[in-house]
């Protein structure tokens, strides 16, 4: 591939001035980016952080001169290497896209076309430009796969996207972006969908690629610790407005803006771990499988102390949610038993008594899909009150009001529909619905992972307060170690359907660790810009 004149490192590559972007929703146009300036020099990495709805992705795409359908660029200038992208016709921009500016999407699993092999998608643009033959382009793609530390680089490209794991796909997508040696890459939350253990490798590969090819990059994420590893500078956005921009180290040590400071507030909750010998749930030697498939749980033994919080951690596919399905009776186990208050629980849901059902409640990750969109909040919370206790009419309304008070919402919410609530409020309503049954155990399945940091903090505080007030026990399923640190008493580490260890938080989080716990804990990004470098050094040393 012929080397383009890359200019000198330090020259201004991208200069966006007073960019305003409108989005269309609720039958009218709203400003979603409210006049932002952004400057990027060659070879520099800018981190763009903020919560969902902050406009990070919209701004990142605008840097390519692209706006999503349903959005429009209303004013501002976008200069890329001396060219004004806003007024440039689409067919001219198409020549820049994929060659000089590349994009790495959030979910590689969705952003690769399922109908084509990876390598065909990787070399698509190189072939379009007609500078290389298919053979040369393939050879180059294989080199890039190797640079991205993909296993079996010679052959992996000849697989279809569904035949490759999520972390590998994300690396292949970075390779695809690198294929034309672009001047600028937009990384749009590239590791958000990955497990922490996978994230480390992907981050390392991406950082290495950016350095090796001296590419400028905009790195979009909501995770400060991740961006600290990647970026030279960080820009914080909120509701389409810039809050603060600073060098990475300065931003981490001395953030000036109040909002920026609040971004890592979850990490400030801490609960003193306690345990009890009185177990509300004992899971003894459980094996479980879906259909006639292989076992996904192998001889699982877990004890849940009464009135305490047990966090179950592990990667996706480790069996965390399957374990919850066994406890709730949605998936009858093949072997072993689940004791609830010392009594054996029937494996099948339909064999359990109403009382048994009432005492175990569940809260889900996606509050949106866990509520009937056509029912008012009053109906949603009132349903378990009627089903378990026969509360009706004014009696039921009084109880709903009481529950709304517990979750810190007022009575104006009674007649609203779920779509009129924010993500955090919806999750609160789900909590109230679980509480309505007056349960002894609540299983929380990734309840905060779809929420922003500040909202997460509110939900976690609420859950802790409820535990103190009514003594409910929690099984808290999550892959987020920061959340675990915040609220758990005990921790269960799971890997491939087996329990690696269980114990008090203070014991699990302190060395000595079993090998896997060590890997898991060390993979959680820290707010230290040198964390990734040090970690890789330490791992190489082993």
């Amino acid at each position: 591939m012929s080397e383009r004149d890359r200019g000198t490192k330090g020259d201004i590559l991208l200069d966006m001035k007073n960019v305003v972007i409108d989005g269309f929703s609720d039958e009218r146009w709203h400003e979603i980016i409210k006049g932002i300036d952004l400057t990027l020099r060659r070879g520099e990495v800018l981190g763009l952080i903020g919560e969902s709805g902050a406009g990070k992705s919209t701004l990142g795409l605008a840097a390519m001169g692209f706006v999503r359908p349903g959005c429009r660029l209303t004013s501002g200038e976008i200069h890329f290497d001396g060219m004004e992208l806003r007024s440039m016709p689409e067919r001219h921009k198409q020549k820049l896209w994929g060659t000089r500016i590349a994009y790495v999407a959030q979910s590689a699993a969705a952003a690769f076309n399922p109908a084509h092999k990876l390598i065909d998608q990787t070399i698509e643009i190189a072939l379009r430009n007609g500078q290389t033959s298919e053979k040369e382009a393939q050879a180059d793609a294989i080199d890039l796969y190797r640079a991205m530390q993909l296993p079996d680089p010679e052959n992996i490209g000849f697989r279809f996207p569904h035949q490759v794991s999520g972390g590998q796909l994300q690396r292949a997508m970075t390779a695809m972006a690198m294929a034309s040696r672009p001047d600028l890459i937009i990384f749009d939350e590239p590791t958000t969908a990955l497990d922490v253990t996978t994230q480390v490798n992907v981050l390392a590969a991406m950082r290495d690629a950016v350095e090796r090819f001296n590419t400028a990059a905009i790195y979009i994420t909501h995770d400060l610790a991740v961006v600290a590893q990647m970026a030279d500078r960080i820009k914080v956005l909120r509701y389409g407005v810039e809050m603060e921009e600073a060098e990475t180290r300065k931003m981490l040590t001395a953030p000036e803006n109040e909002y920026t400071k609040s971004l890592w507030s979850v990490r400030s909750i801490y609960k003193e771990p306690q345990t009890s010998d009185d177990n509300i749930i004992e899971i003894n030697g459980v094996d479980a499988a879906y259909g006639k498939g292989e076992n996904v749980l192998h001889d699982v033994n877990i004890k849940i102390p009464r009135g305490k919080t047990v966090a179950i951690v592990g990667e996706s596919g480790s069996g965390k949610s399957t374990m919850a399905r066994v406890v709730t009776g949605l998936l009858p186990q093949n072997r072993g038993e689940v004791l609830f208050n010392g009594e054996k629980l029937p494996p099948r849901l339909k064999d359990r008594s109403k009382e048994q059902l009432r005492k175990i409640q569940m809260i889900y990750q996606m509050a949106d899909t866990a509520m009937n969109p056509r029912q008012t909040i009053k109906d949603i919370i009132g349903r378990p009150l009627e089903f378990y206790f026969g509360h009706k009419g004014a009696d039921q309304e009084a109880k709903v009001l009481e529950l709304l008070e517990m979750i810190e919402l007022d009575e104006s919410f009674m007649d609203r529909l779920p779509e009129e609530l924010s993500g955090g409020q919806k999750q609160r309503v789900c909590i109230a619905r679980a509480l309505a049954a007056n349960p002894e155990l609540i299983i929380c399945d990734e309840v905060t992972s779809a929420l922003d940091q500040i909202v997460q903090e509110g939900i976690l505080q609420l859950l802790l307060k409820l535990q103190t007030d009514i003594g409910v026990s929690y099984i808290f399923i999550t892959h987020d170690i920061a959340t675990v640190q915040a609220i758990s008493d005990e921790i269960v580490v799971m890997l491939q359907g087996k329990v690696v260890e269980q114990g008090l938080k203070s014991e699990i989080m302190e060395p000595p660790y079993p090998e896997y716990t060590q890997l898991l804990l060390s993979s959680v990004p820290e707010m230290d810009p040198d964390w990734l470098t040090e970690l890789l050094k330490a791992r190489e040393g082993v």
């Binding site: 896209w97 999407a105 399922p114």
Partner: protein, 353 residues
């Protein structure tokens, strides 16, 4: 070296190594197994349909013997006739005889051509149906050869220029033709292209002795009529299936790689849209075989549809049974093919992990 099939994209290109994978160590590739399962299921469906056909004919009131021989026939003749046809036997025996024959390619003898006079000019059902069937399939293939590519072309281009004037014109035109009764379309075409401008014949009475070119010329108007009737459905499904995919993240990714709009439609959307498109095409092709009796009537075209209507009127049950069984088989086979296309264009199924 890769073997490539145009339009179906790379999902259809194989490394020679992969083809060997298809039969690894005596184990059937999951695709082959699925296809075999579907085939068996299709056969089973056909069996159920044959039972339904047979029993619904059993449910018809009246006596076949009297109906066929006429009021003038004596009771003895009718009884003899019934005995000869085996109508005196219980239903399950008659079904077994019939289906046993069908399996060996013998569809029985037509009731028509018999009369109370005792003179038997009846013919084998196969001899009656076979030439008609050839004609029906000829008309259907001619129409399909025009209609399917046309519908795909219109659907893809309408998706490419969605919401443009072109898209609207195509939609309005095809919707108009599908909303108009087919006999009316046929008469309009006769008026325009046979009467006002005598370019094509208005009668499509082809026979076996005609040359291919002459047949083609004679079937021009019925083909055109049917094309107008079926294009809208297929075109709209193609357009919808493609547009449905345009919101996918991988389409946005392709745009952000600078892939042009037409290539996005052809290489990124279409390969993922074959399953619904194939289903609709199969449905319409089946209609071409089994649902064209009105068009046949307008153009006096000697197809199976006309034969079936005649046979029902004269209570010629062996012909009715054979024709309906054939129609059912057509539906099953075409849907089977659509299913298989849906399976093999899905790389998740074609190339399991």
């Amino acid at each position: 070296m890769n073997v490539k099939v145009f339009g179906l994209g790379k999902a259809f290109s194989f490394h020679p190594r992969e083809i060997c994978d298809l039969k690894q160590e005596g184990q059937l590739h999951p695709i082959v197994r699925t296809i075999l399962q579907r085939l068996l299921l299709g056969l089973f469906t056909l069996f159920v349909v044959s039972v339904i056909i047979f029993s619904s004919i059993e449910l018809l009131p009246g006596d076949f013997g009297e109906a066929v021989l006429g009021q003038a026939a004596t009771e003895d003749t009718v009884a003899a006739f019934r005995r000869e046809l085996g109508l005196d036997q219980p239903a399950y025996m008659r079904y077994a005889n019939w289906i046993g024959g069908v399996v060996q390619g013998d569809f029985g003898t037509s009731f028509s051509g018999r009369s109370s006079s005792g003179v038997d000019r009846s013919r084998a059902v196969v001899d009656l149906i076979a030439p008609r069937l050839k004609n029906t399939l000829f008309l259907a293939s001619m129409t399909a050869l025009i209609a399917v590519p046309l519908a795909l072309f219109l659907g893809v281009t309408a998706a490419l220029y969605r919401n443009s004037i072109y898209d609207r014109i195509v939609n309005v035109f095809t919707l108009t033709t599908i909303a108009t009764p087919e006999f009316f379309v046929a008469y309009i075409l006769i008026l325009l292209f046979a009467s006002l401008n005598p370019w094509f014949p208005s009668l499509a009475n082809i026979n076996e002795n005609m040359a291919f070119g002459e047949k083609l010329y004679k079937t021009a108007l019925p083909s055109l009529t049917l094309t107008l009737v079926i294009v809208a459905h297929m075109m709209r499904m193609t357009r919808a299936a493609i547009i449905n995919l345009l919101a996918s993240p991988y389409i946005e990714m392709a745009r952000l790689k600078g892939v042009s709009a037409s290539k996005i439609i052809l290489f990124h959307a279409l390969p993922n849209a074959w399953a619904p498109i194939a289903t609709v095409i199969a449905f319409n092709l089946a209609y071409l075989v089994v649902g064209v009796v009105i068009v046949e009537a307008v153009f006096i075209y000697p197809g199976v549809g006309q034969l079936l209507v005649d046979a029902v009127r004269t209570r010629d049950m062996p012909v009715v049974q054979a024709a309906t069984l054939f129609f059912a088989a057509t539906y099953i086979v075409l849907n089977l093919i659509a299913d298989i296309i849906g399976i093999i264009t899905n790389p998740r199924l074609l190339h399991p992990r």
